[in-house]
């Protein structure tokens, strides 16, 4: 108890880190832990509420977790360092394919059709996961002669090229990617605990493949988020934010601008890589078309909706952009304005595109801080309501 008091005193003296690990910081910490616990309980609750639709929700959740991790990486680059990248889907693809290639055993050697041979290293899946993240980072680093020398918007357009080069390679490198038809993704296995379809029951609660992946995804999101906040509040984050505002000022203060831009791009690629691994696990089978320009655009939509540079916003944005089309598709029957799939009318997928396209435009024009800024307004609004007693009693009555 006293130790805690001392350390909190010290952190108050040092004024802790910006964003606060002080008294108000503790409250946010509690709130964050609470959110994580709630999200962790969702699979259990789903089992009792909606047994039929359970797997749909769980899979949607795993997709959202994958998107969140990758979106954190992009918001670090765009919001944190002021560098625009349109190549995010490329690095997500690297993560997904690298994991698949590293963890798969070579198969198809017995068949006579050369194109059906798919290579692999057959590494343990945790090793493959780490390897995939490192390979994605390496790919980002290899791009650094360009990423570190180009400023913001030039980099955005130049990085667009990676998406197309990546798709080309994915279609043509049959042995790695399985080509047009794609290839299966090996199930994750952590020290004998398999994240697969084998039935698992803990204390009478059954776990499906997706509910196991839910926890894997959630754990990765938490780690990715904590790391993000630490980096941004620490020395590297200060340097990045400074070079975003003024490269000249940053450099005369001793920040190696070229190197930091390369770091930011590399780190952002590693986030994308981890997101790619989770995404691959969620899909269970990956095809090149998944990783096109559309994916890049949806990542941009996520971070804009969340508010550029805001890690919490990136999570919310990722949830929104991933869940929206799935929700619209699931309930398209009961939504009168939606046409059935394949009819050429406004289908769920089309409506989702409209909605998040509009969300991007409206937020950028009217609320550049995104959802993060909107969220900050809510408490202010609430306290204003509280201050005027009349309205507050009405609220309570209602």
């Amino acid at each position: 108890m006293s130790e805690v008091a001392v350390s909190s005193l010290e952190s108050a003296a040092g004024a802790a880190v910006a964003g606060g690990r002080g008294r108000s910081g503790r409250r946010t910490l509690v709130a964050r832990v609470g959110v994580v616990v709630l999200v962790a309980l969702v699979p259990l609750a789903l089992g009792t509420i909606d047994t039929e639709g359970q797997d749909f929700w769980l899979q949607a959740g795993v997709f959202a977790f994958a998107a969140m991790i990758a979106a954190l990486g992009l918001t670090l680059l765009v919001g944190g360092a002021g560098q625009l990248s349109l190549a995010h889907s490329f690095f997500v693809a690297i993560g997904a394919y690298a994991y698949t290639y590293l963890s798969s055993a070579t198969r198809g050697t017995g068949t006579t059709i050369a194109s059906s041979i798919q290579g692999g290293f057959g590494l343990p899946t945790p090793v493959a996961m780490v390897g995939a993240v490192l390979i994605a980072g390496l790919a980002g680093l290899l791009f650094s002669p360009i990423s570190s020398r180009l400023r913001g918007i030039y980099l955005g357009v130049a990085s667009l090229g990676l998406v197309f080069v990546g798709l080309h390679v994915a279609f043509n490198a049959q042995k790695v990617s399985g080509g047009f038809n794609g290839r299966d993704v090996p199930d994750f296995n952590l020290l004998g605990f398999a994240f697969d379809t084998s039935p698992l029951s803990v204390l009478g609660v059954g776990f499906t493949r997706n509910s196991k992946l839910w926890y894997l995804g959630l754990a990765c999101v938490v780690l990715a988020y904590v790391y993000y906040v630490n980096v941004l509040e620490g020395r590297p984050g200060r340097a990045l934010r400074c070079l975003r505002d003024s490269e000249v000022a940053a450099s005369v203060l001793g920040v190696n601008v070229v190197r930091y831009k390369a770091y930011a791009f590399t780190l952002s690629s590693m986030y994308a890589g981890l997101g790619g691994v989770i995404l691959a696990l969620a899909y269970h089978h990956i095809v090149p078309d998944t990783f096109g320009l559309g994916l890049t655009v949806s990542f941009l939509a996520m971070i804009v909706i969340g508010g550029l540079g805001s890690p919490g916003g990136a999570l919310v944005g990722a949830l929104f952009v991933t869940a929206l089309p799935l929700l619209l598709a699931k309930y398209s029957d009961s939504l009168p304005f939606l046409a059935p799939t394949g009819s050429g009318g406004v289908t769920a997928a089309v409506a989702a595109q409209f909605i998040y396209g509009a969300a991007v435009i409206l937020l950028l024009v009217f609320e550049p801080g995104g959802v993060a800024a909107l969220a900050r307004r809510v408490p202010r609004l609430a306290s204003r309501l509280r201050r005027s007693p009349h309205s507050s009693t009405q609220k309570e009555a209602a």
Binding site: V78, G82, L84, P145, I146, R149, L150, R151, G152, I153, Y154, G156, V157, A158, L160, G161, L162, F164, V165, H168, V169, F171, N172, A173, E247, V248, L293, V297, L300, A301, V304, L308, G344, G345, V346, V350, Q353, F354, Y356, G357, A358, A359, V360, I361, L364, V365, P368
Partner: protein, 298 residues
């Protein structure tokens, strides 16, 4: 050798179309420092409108083109007035991402309307071919070159000599000083967007004409290949846009032409070639061939 000359010529004709698109990017960039990611969907919308006018409404082709160009220009104008302008003073990256949002909406709608069809625009050249000096050239591509030359010549003359062109160049140099000198930035920005929209629609006519199959859902993506053209020429260089367009066109056609000798690169490498060329150029010159190096201001 004959193949080579043929390929280069085809490349130049394709490149002249890219040049029109790249010029649109550059003009917008010079006026507003924004990269317009909605260019492809403006092109697709213009081309779709032309197709609809000439088939569903049986309007004369050239009139349909005029109407389609007007619609594309109008869309660009609406984007500029309604959105780009309201974001004045905001980071260029934010405004550029906003155009991605616009692209998402317009593209989704045109794609939905086109569906799985391949539409023709009703051009009079059809699959006609002319033989010039031993080369076989689609009539449409001859017109593409002629049209591009006329438009580019008119543009550069206008850009160089009209008071408007001078104002635009001045504003690209230093918008603050230019606006102090009484140049109305708002008008320059609007005209730049309208011009770029119109150019995109014109490019759309030739991109969908023979030897292309026609307008399909992915036509807008072709405009993306004009990005490398604009970037490698230098995003703020109008001349660079033209040179960049031609280089990209030639590189793409040569790669496709010699595909059988380049099997190691995989099938369809010509679609990727523009980006490879762009990256190669950027490695040597980070602001493109003719782009001005940013002077550091403190």
């Amino acid at each position: 050798m004959k193949d080579f000359v043929q390929f280069v010529f085809n490349g130049l004709s394709l490149g002249s179309i890219y040049a029109l698109l790249a010029l649109g990017f550059v003009v917008i960039f010079k006026a507003t420092e924004v990269v317009n990611f909605a260019h492809g969907s403006i092109l697709a919308l213009g081309a779709y409108a032309i197709s609809r006018f000439s088939f569903n409404s049986h309007i004369e082709f050239y009139l349909a083109v005029l109407l389609g160009v007007a619609i594309a220009a109008l869309l660009a104008f609406v984007i500029e007035r309604g959105l780009v302008r309201t974001m004045a003073g905001r980071s260029v990256i934010a405004v550029s991402i906003m155009t991605i949002g616009v692209d998402l909406i317009v593209r989704t709608e045109t794609t939905r309307r086109i569906g799985v069809d391949v539409l023709t625009l009703g051009d009079p050249w059809r699959d006609g071919i002319v033989h010039v000096a031993g080369l076989t050239v689609p009539t449409a591509r001859v017109w593409a070159i002629v049209t591009a030359l006329v438009i580019l010549a008119a543009f550069f003359a206008w850009f160089k000599f009209s008071s408007f062109g001078v104002a635009m160049r001045a504003s690209a140099e230093d918008s603050e000083t230019a606006s102090l000198m009484g140049i109305r930035m708002g008008r320059i920005s609007a005209v730049a967007w309208v011009l770029a929209g119109a150019l995109a629609a014109v490019a759309g006519v030739f991109l969908t004409a023979f030897p292309s199959a026609g307008l399909d859902a992915s036509t807008g993506d072709v405009a993306l290949r004009a990005f490398p053209a604009a970037i490698l020429g230098g995003l703020d260089s109008t001349g660079g846009a033209v040179v960049g367009g031609l280089i990209i066109g030639v590189a793409e056609v040569l790669t496709a032409g010699y595909q059988s000798d380049l099997t190691v690169l995989g099938r369809g490498f010509d679609q990727v070639m523009p980006y490879v060329v762009m990256v190669a150029v950027l490695l040597v010159r980070p602001t493109g061939l003719f782009g001005t190096r940013e002077a550091t201001r403190v």
